[in-house]
């Protein structure tokens, strides 16, 4: 299954290439527009409409590609109709996570539902690897259902951190090594307690 690390690495590559292309384009334009030998040129209307067509295509295509390639989008959409193999109930109050147990073991390749309740403020719920990269997250609002369904495909030990600001008292809402995924064929190389970190 596609992992969030793979998606982020792909994004890093694509956006870096895009950035360099755009900087080059404006650089080329800047040289061209002041070139003493440059002549005024009128752009045809058809060129403009083609360009607009490309913009629309790109805008729509981004979402179509991610919808089909990023597995958690479909799970998120269907989470009400999918039956979770495991439900993890967590409460947050006064800037503290109340966990069902200090260490939580998660099943591999099963639907896990994180059901998080806030008793006071708006918080965040984020799962992070040992190298601090993010696995997933959601906002946790008081008075709303905050349920995140996820499927883990690799073995690893993960941290829990609030991903939303909840005042200076919430600045250190971070618990190490809360979740452990076991039973997968593959290890998450960025989230091993001992190993290739």
């Amino acid at each position: 299954m596609t992992d969030s690390v793979d998606v982020l690495q792909m994004l890093k590559l694509v956006y870096t290439l895009y950035t360099l292309s755009v900087i080059s384009l404006i650089g080329w334009f800047a040289f061209g527009v002041v070139n003493p030998k440059g002549k005024p040129r009128i752009v045809k209307a058809s060129t403009f409409y083609t360009y607009v067509g490309v913009l629309i295509t790109v805008g729509v295509a981004i979402h179509i590609v991610t919808f089909n390639k990023i597995p958690w989008v479909e799970i998120d959409f269907k989470r009400d109709s999918l039956k979770p193999a495991q439900v993890v109930n967590i409460t947050i109050e006064k800037h503290k996570f109340k966990l069902p147990s200090p260490k939580i073991e998660l099943k591999c390749n099963e639907y896990i539902l994180f059901d998080v309740v806030s008793k006071d403020l708006t918080y965040g719920f984020g799962i992070f690897r040992q190298n601090n990269s993010m696995v997933t997250q959601m906002q946790v609002l008081p008075g709303s259902r905050n349920d995140l369904m996820w499927k883990f495909g690799k073995n690893g030990v993960y941290h829990l951190r609030s991903t939303e600001y909840s005042g200076p008292k919430g600045a250190k809402m971070y618990i190490k090594d809360v979740f452990e995924v076991k039973g997968c064929d593959e290890d998450d190389k960025y989230s091993q307690k001992r190993g290739n970190l």
């Binding site: 982020l8 404006i26 752009v43 959409f77 708006t122 959601m138 200076p168």
Partner: protein
Amino acid sequence: MSFLHTLVNGNEGGLKADGLTPTQKVTLRAVIMGILYYGLSAFEGMMMRAHAITPLSMLDDSHYFSVMTVHPIVGIFGSTYLVVFGAFTFLVPYLMKKPLYSIKLANATWILIAFGALMSWLGGFIFHYAPLYTLYWPLPVDFSQYDAVGGLVFILGIALIMIGTLGFIYNIFATVFYTEEGHEKRPMKPLLISALGIDGMLNIWYKMTGREPYAKEPAVSLPVVAIFRGTIDTFLDALVILTCGVLILVYIIGDLSGATMDYTSVNALLYKNFFWWGLDLIADGLVLIYVAGSWYLLAMLITGKKLFMQNIARAALLLELIVSWFVWSHHLLADQGQNNMMKLVSGEMVTAFELVTQGIAIFITLVTLWSARPLKMSNELKFLLGGILGFMLAVPAGIIQADMGLNRILHNTQWVAGPHFHVAILVGLTMTLYSAVYILWPTLTNGVKLYSQKLASFHFWGQLVGGIGMGAFMGMAAMDGALRRTLYLDGEYQTYMILAGICGLLLLAAWVAFLFNLIMSVGLKGLLGIFNKSKLKTTALIPEA
């Protein structure tokens, strides 16, 4: 000529403030205050950048987050609003070829905004009130963390800013519609149709159906159309922020008077939707529309030519206004209580239209410039190109995070703060504003000569490289999991933070160079003279020859 003499009297005689009209003065007052607030915001930014590299002993958690709270207030309202409102206070009457509706109101506007920004800043600086600009309910009324008096000062400051904003809006709309003394009565209908850009759409429709154009010469010029439309969003945004401010004030007053109220009476998700609907009208509404209008104006002034595809540009501005009302859900893609269809339609699909509307503005501006080749690489042209580059980078970064799949791993990370909104503001918006400052400089100062072109060039490169660099390194940290609004005290992302800090320092140096160049050009006497009452009793925009 000695350095001291130039500092006091300005370059080649500097600014003769006695020769400035009341309209020139009020414009310059707002712009100067905006530039000073930009410096304060940049300094606060550097404090946070330094703290991200190695924790500063002077910044405890509550101080750090109070700096983070006031940083955007000072940057957006204290700086950008003042520069933009100042410039438009001059440009709208200039383009409409009639005096400003009310100079008194324009003066009240900048004073209210400047004082309001100062009050909000004091709310953070003295009382450490720190609910951040997002004000997520019920954090602004969590008096177990904040002093209610601090909240009172902060929120009253915001209210003053919004009242000043309403003053600006009234002045702009009144300037468009009023009939000046001695002039034949201006009919309302063609002005309104043109100001909303409906004539552009009708022209396209009439052309498609083989008819003569609806309006050969539109009643309102294209940049004024952009300002008018952007100001509609400014109005709606001011109403929403004022409403939330009143709500918070009620709770603050309740706490101060001993009648503490139950904050669960307000639904946090509903509040978040309402607040983001209004707040997003700044980021995805008025900023994009004002910027597009500024690009069009700058392109026309730089080239002396008509804009490429004028009718499309007018129609696109109307589309942008409507789009801006339906995109707020992209801020709630990580909120599981938010309806999935709202996330999909408002958060993803309608938001993606901003790629189209902003893309159209970029294309039209670049083609207009290209059609007038060869041009001189003036300060205004290079800053305009920098501004366009900023939005070419920041808008797609925003579209990427406004995706249900990618938002799950980008929401609240440094990606949002770096490649998206800091690049949009520091490179896209600010460089566009500097372009406008450089092009309006001779008109507003009655021809004061710039002290140093080398400093102007350093200002350009510092702003461009510093802004893009800082955004890039923050974005790279985000790819490795760095959140915004989170303190990392164990050196987790130190390499990226050092590099981002160096870029931040470059931005601060660019501002210092610009301010120094400005003061040396006009002189301290001229600078202070701007704040004295104008000796010219005229409603004309510039002194009559």
